[in-house]
């Protein structure tokens, strides 16, 4: 999230359609009353003038005494609602602000997707601050621009509108959509990386963190028996432990997009791969014991590493801005990882195509790049278009992604 420089807000005042009608009729009444000496017309004209004057005064004063400040969330994921708040302060000593509306344009910086979010406050007392908000769901990852926000009101008679536009453009990274990982994803991750034992180290000599109680099964260690519960239930009960494993992985995302991509549907497999990468990344980074590296093979191959919150944001940002292409250079991405972080980590490739389709065997460079991991059994190639991906995630609602190959 970045913020542009703030300048003085611009205040503009204009009559609404109804205000124009009133002004016209009031002008007619004034003219008729003045020319023909019809005092009642002048009374009406006076009321019109009074209405318009008070409208202008209150409208302008309300907006001028109010300041807006947007607060965007630190992270937002595609397909998940996030809330954007405004801190609205009425600086006026005595005059409350009524019917304040805030419009906030949202637009993609890569595509033409545009929208305007709105929120508002019915009443804001003098010297008070309120935090109106709007909820937003963006279904496509990427970088979005928020703002400039505009506060406006037509209080009290809807005859005129005063708008104050703040120069408060901000950008927001919408990270890839998070998927629901199925149970046992960690086991699959270990299983597929044939040398899982090397990658997933026991985090210590203990049994792990207490997780739950269950009935005793043959083979259970007697040390795990929970005697108090066993006595109470009159059957042997054992403690379950959650094993702490430390993953040391490199996630490589293959940003492959078929050359003849007709529409957004063709992007789905690549997007699914990116989403799966983001999901795994999010889950793995949550444990500080894990060490993670992310490499993307897209228009511009990149590689980053990090386990902290900042590193996580960096990696998610990389995924959100990743541009798919028809010829992603996987070998270069692997090379970058190797140069930066070595080859000690297991390599998990998330791709919208199979290993063979990616050219392994035909492409000497890629084969050579992958060779160290293949040789050590530390390569996991997850083809998201393969039905077997359902072991990882639930594909309900994403039929197009599977079987596209």
């Amino acid at each position: 999230m970045t913020t542009s420089a703030r300048d003085e807000p611009r205040v503009r005042h204009r009559l609404t359609r109804l205000g124009l009608h009133f002004a016209f009729v009031g002008g007619f009444a004034m003219l008729g009353g003045a020319l023909r000496g019809l005092n009642l017309l002048l009374v009406l004209a006076g009321m019109m003038v009074g209405l318009l004057f008070m409208q202008w005064r209150l409208c302008r004063r309300s907006i001028e005494s109010v300041s807006l400040r947007r607060r965007v969330p630190n992270e937002a994921f595609a397909g998940r609602p996030f809330r954007v708040r405004f801190r609205v302060t009425n600086h006026s000593r005595s005059m409350p602000a009524w019917m304040l509306r805030i419009d906030d344009p949202i637009g993609s910086m890569q595509r033409s997707d545009r929208s305007t979010a709105s929120t508002g406050i019915g009443f804001l007392a003098a010297k008070r601050t309120a935090t109106p908000s709007y909820d937003c769901v963006i279904t496509r990852r990427g970088r979005y621009r928020l703002g400039p926000s505009t506060g406006w009101t037509t209080f009290p008679f809807a005859l005129a509108m005063t708008r104050k536009t703040n120069d408060d453009q901000e950008s927001l990274d919408v990270y890839p959509e998070l998927l629901d990982l199925k149970r046992g994803w960690q086991r699959h991750l270990l299983g597929r990386t044939e040398g899982a034992t090397a990658a997933a180290h026991r985090s210590g000599a203990n049994d792990g963190e207490f997780f739950a109680l269950r009935e005793w099964q043959s083979g259970d260690n007697l040390r795990w028996i929970h005697w108090r519960t066993t006595a109470r239930k009159d059957e042997p009960m054992v403690r379950q432990f959650e094993q702490h494993r430390r993953f040391d992985l490199c996630l490589l995302v293959d940003g492959y997009l078929p050359n003849d991509a007709p529409d957004e549907l063709a992007e789905e497999p690549a997007e699914l791969a990116i989403s799966l990468a983001a999901t795994l990344l999010t889950r793995l980074v949550a444990s500080p014991a894990n060490r993670l590296t992310l490499a993307v093979a897209a228009q511009r191959p990149q590689a980053v590493s990090g386990g902290s919150a900042a590193g996580k944001r960096h990696m998610l940002g990389l995924l959100s801005e990743m541009k798919t292409c028809c010829e992603p250079n996987l070998a270069e991405a692997i090379e970058k990882v190797s140069l930066l972080f070595g080859r000690a980590q297991d390599l998990v490739v998330l791709s919208p195509r199979s290993l063979e389709a990616a050219g392994v065997g035909r492409d000497d460079e890629l084969s050579a790049a992958l060779h160290p991991w293949k040789r050590g059994g530390r390569l996991c190639w997850i083809n998201v278009t393969d039905p077997s991906v359902e072991r990882w995630i639930s594909l309900a609602g994403k039929p197009a992604a599977v079987g596209a190959e």
Partner: protein, 877 residues
């Protein structure tokens, strides 16, 4: 299995459910892109109120247009369609006119009205009626349509146009009275349009979203719509007076280049008195109760209102010639006014007469008269003779020997219009101790020809004066002939009765004055003659109407009695003429003025009596010395129609309102504007009002100082006063009622939020934030409460009222506060650990309070005062 991210884990349950609900509603809105504003706010308070207010506006617009303009049918039409549209279209939703049908209907209405419009050759009021019809028709069609924002706006504009058209037609006070509810309902309606516009476009912007970006703000919409209840009142009570003030300043400060006038009023102007008055005319006028004049008398010496002891005679027209005629084959008669000649042509009002002997001033009162006349069809105005001009600019003229007033030529209306309302002033010496003098000098001006024999005047001037004197003597001779014209064959009974009366007196007393009085008494008191307003007497063929009255019917209205007396006087060679005008005793106590209505129309007689024939005690002071005087004689039994008493209190108030309305609104022009705004010490109404108000306040203060409050009982040392006691009880009841009335929510909230002023803010930021979070639920620490007492009481109260426990985080925070604030330094623990602990607890507290807030979706955003850096999304960092 996906585990929630920290960001989700904090806010997901409430936020996701809210957001999904909002998006569901937004999606529903998307599918109904063409839906109306009313549908968007289906069954909402805002929608209902908007429909009600605009239906009321339509009703009121039609009523304003129809009232007092003779277009009651239009008012009924407007009210019917407003009610019908509200009930059937807006409320029951039985049907709604499609747009295409509505446009067609409007087109047909326009064609119908325009076809009527072009039938008239010259501009007149009928064309305005056509415009009014068009407005009502179109408004009726709008009421039958489904209400959208645009329809609401159109209804508002049409109501405004109706007010404009009605302002051209109707300038009575009922327009001003109706303007009040129109303004109130209009302000309400416009303020709700603000709510509609603000909340409506939240959905509208969502509709324009790209498919990949969906936004909603359900709470914001609820917050905006929650203003529906109080915004109209706030606008009315705070902005309304300001609007009126600006309007008043505009109205009174706008430079005026034209005189106040009015268009139309066709059929609404009073008949008035022209140069010809038929015998039955006054009888018809008396049938009407409409207001004609307001007359205010003010004593010049004391600047106080002046009340008359008896009836007040206001002369309108002098009729000299009696002309029998035949109408529809039956005998009739007309009284005709002799047109003015070179001698008595219309002139400006004479100057005030100052007697040569100062003692004469004891025999008359100097009165300032202010007359406000309703629109009339004739130019004649009404006067109290003898009159004189005042310092105020006058636009009226006088006929010197008639003692009547008329409008100046430039006040004459253009073709097709009636004479507008006019207010004029003059002075008079006609009263002494409240009694109106019955003698008027022959001429209203000093006769300069009397100086024709004065040797100090130059010969040329003397010659001119002699010529003038000859002309006047000739005129007098001719006029005397007119005033003594009597057809003894046509009206023999008049001569017979007059002769009988004349012969009944002793020879020494048979002067003209005595005879005139006796004849007046005869008609007035003789049991043979009776007063009636019954106009269905059958005219007798070949018989003069006066003769028929005297010899056969002997019953009639004032005009018959006066005509008969004129004939009787003329039969005795006493010059006499008929005077028509108003005779009223109706006094508006509230406004301090006399009211003359059509039913007060009256006819009386003036007989010309030589000065020498007047009785010794005749009071003719305060006017130009004359050789002859007009003697007022009123032969109508029982005083004619003046026996009817003044209207009730409501009527008086209404009359006063009408008077004020005309003074300060309808008749405001350049001169009155100057009088009202610039003059400070003159007789202008506004400064007069100010002076009166200030005098009243001064009087009240002096009475309080003198201990006269309470009917003077306090002055005498009496400690109990019934009026004071009643006042005290009334005020107590008023205070009780005011206190019992539930304060508006926003005032209560303000009081609530202002309450914690006494309690100091904690020095530790995390505990200050804790208290602020509790403040969101309206819980504030009192000055006498310790933090622990407050938080434990707050957690109990929240658990009891909101069914959600915040005890755990609150206890933790309180404990941390005490430990850090008051505990020994070595037991405060690791800073980072405590910081982490308090942050977690504060986040937990905030989350729970958020949940409580979500349980109250109607709670306004203004109350949700949260702190920077503590929003759901940020805590994940």
């Amino acid at each position: 299995m996906h585990e929630p991210t920290p960001w989700e884990s904090e806010s997901a349950p409430s936020r996701r459910s809210t957001a999904e609900g909002d998006f569901a509603s937004t999606a529903a809105g998307d599918q109904n892109t063409g839906r109306s504003a009313g549908e968007l706010g289906e069954d909402s308070l805002l929608s209902h109120r908007l429909k009600l207010y605009f239906a009321s506006l339509s009703c009121l617009g039609g009523v304003v247009l129809g009232s007092g303009t003779g277009m009651e049918v239009l008012a009924v039409t407007a009210v019917f369609f407003a009610l019908f549209g509200f009930v059937c279209v807006d409320w029951l939703k039985l049907f709604a006119l499609p747009s295409i049908a509505a446009y067609t209907a409007m087109g047909l209405a326009a064609i119908y009205c325009v076809s009527n419009f072009i039938e008239f050759d010259a501009p007149n009021t009928r064309q305005m009626r056509v415009v009014a019809e068009l407005l009502v028709f179109v408004q009726a069609i709008l009421m039958l349509q489904e209400k959208t924002h645009r329809i609401y706006e159109q209804l508002g504009v049409f109501c405004l146009l109706q007010l404009i058209v009605a302002a051209v037609f109707n300038n009575a006070v009922n327009y001003g009275l109706l303007l009040v509810p129109v303004a109130v309902v209009g302000a309400w309606a416009l303020s709700l349009l603000v709510v509609l516009r603000s909340s409506e476009s939240i959905s509208a912007s969502a509709k324009e979203s790209a498919p990949s970006i969906r936004c909603s703000a359900g709470q914001a919409k609820a917050s905006l719509e929650s203003a529906t209840r109080r915004l109209p009142w706030v606008v009315l009570l705070t902005v309304g007076p300001a609007v009126l003030l600006v309007a008043a300043i505009f109205f009174y400060a706008l430079p005026r280049t034209t005189d106040a006038s009015q268009m139309g009023k066709a059929g609404k102007a009073l008949v008035g008195f022209s140069d010809q008055v038929r015998l039955e005319q006054i009888g018809k006028m008396i049938q009407s109760d409409r207001l004609a004049l307001r007359v205010q008398l003010k004593d010049n010496s004391h600047q106080k209102l002046y009340k008359v002891a008896g009836p007040l005679y206001l002369r309108g027209k002098v009729l000299d010639r009696y002309r029998p005629s035949v109408r529809d084959g039956l005998p009739s008669a007309v009284w005709v006014s002799v047109p003015p000649s070179d001698i008595n042509e219309y002139q400006t009002l004479p100057p005030e007469y100052y007697p040569s002997r100062m003692s004469d001033k004891n025999f008359y009162d100097s009165i300032d008269v202010r007359v406000s006349s309703e629109p009339m069809r004739t130019p004649s105005l009404f006067a109290i003779a003898p009159f004189h001009g005042t310092q105020h600019q006058q636009e009226i003229m006088q006929a010197t020997d008639r003692w009547t007033l008329s409008r100046q030529e430039r006040m004459m209306p253009t073709l097709g219009w009636d004479f507008p309302r006019v207010t004029y002033r003059f002075g008079t010496h006609a009263f002494r101790d409240g009694v109106q003098s019955e003698f008027i000098a022959r001429w209203s001006k000093v006769a300069s020809w009397r100086k024709a024999d004065d040797p100090s005047v130059s010969p040329q001037a003397r010659q001119k004066m002699r010529e003038t004197r000859l002309m006047i003597e000739d005129y007098n001779r001719q006029y005397r002939q007119i005033l003594t014209a009597y057809d003894s064959d046509a009206v023999p009974t008049a001569a017979r009765l007059a002769t009988t009366v004349a012969e009944s007196g002793s020879p020494g007393k048979r002067g003209p004055y005595w005879l005139a009085r006796r004849l007046e008494t005869l008609l007035r008191s003789d049991s043979r003659f009776g007063y009636t307003l019954n106009l269905d007497a059958e005219p007798m063929p070949g018989v003069d109407p006066i003769e028929q009255f005297l010899a056969h019917d002997q019953k009639g209205n004032c005009q018959y009695f006066a005509s008969a007396l004129v004939m009787m006087l003329r039969s005795q060679e006493i010059p006499a003429r008929l005077v028509v005008g108003y005779k009223t005793e109706e006094y508006n106590e509230i406004g301090g003025y006399y009211v003359a209505r059509q039913r007060h129309a009256h006819a009386w007689v003036e007989a010309l009596i030589d000065k020498d024939d007047l009785p010794q005690n005749a009071l003719v002071y305060g006017q130009v010395p004359s050789e002859q005087y007009w003697l007022r004689l009123d032969p109508t039994p029982g005083g004619g129609g003046t026996g009817q008493t003044a209207g009730g209190g409501v009527e008086q108030v209404f009359d006063l309102a009408q008077n004020i309305w005309e003074d300060y609104v309808v008749d405001m022009d350049g001169s009155r504007q100057k009088d009202a705004l610039l003059d400070t010490g003159g007789m202008s109404p506004m400064s007069e009002s100010y002076a009166r108000l200030i005098n009243s306040i001064k009087l009240l203060i002096s009475r309080i100082q003198a201990g006269e409050l309470g009917g003077g009982s306090l002055a005498s040392g009496q400690l109990f006063s019934w009026p004071a006691a009643m006042f005290g009880v009334g005020m107590t009841l008023l205070v009780f009622v005011l206190v019992r009335i539930r304060l508006p929510a926003w005032i209560r909230r303000k009081i609530d939020t202002d309450r914690p002023g006494g309690a100091a803010q904690p020095s530790l930021p995390f505990f200050a934030e804790t208290l602020e979070q509790l403040g969101r639920l309206g819980l504030w620490r009192q000055a006498a409460e310790t933090p622990a007492e407050f938080t434990s009481a707050a957690s109990r109260q929240i658990a009891r009222q909101r069914r959600l426990s915040v005890a755990e985080p609150l206890a933790l925070l309180t404990d941390a506060f005490y430990r850090l604030r008051f505990g020994p330094a070595d037991r405060r623990g690791d800073d980072a650990a405590v910081d982490s602990l308090t942050r977690e607890a504060l986040g937990e507290l905030k989350q729970r309070i958020d949940q409580i807030d979500h349980q109250e979706p109607r709670r306004e955003a203004a109350d949700v005062v949260s702190l920077d850096g503590l929003s759901h999304t940020d805590t994940s960092a």
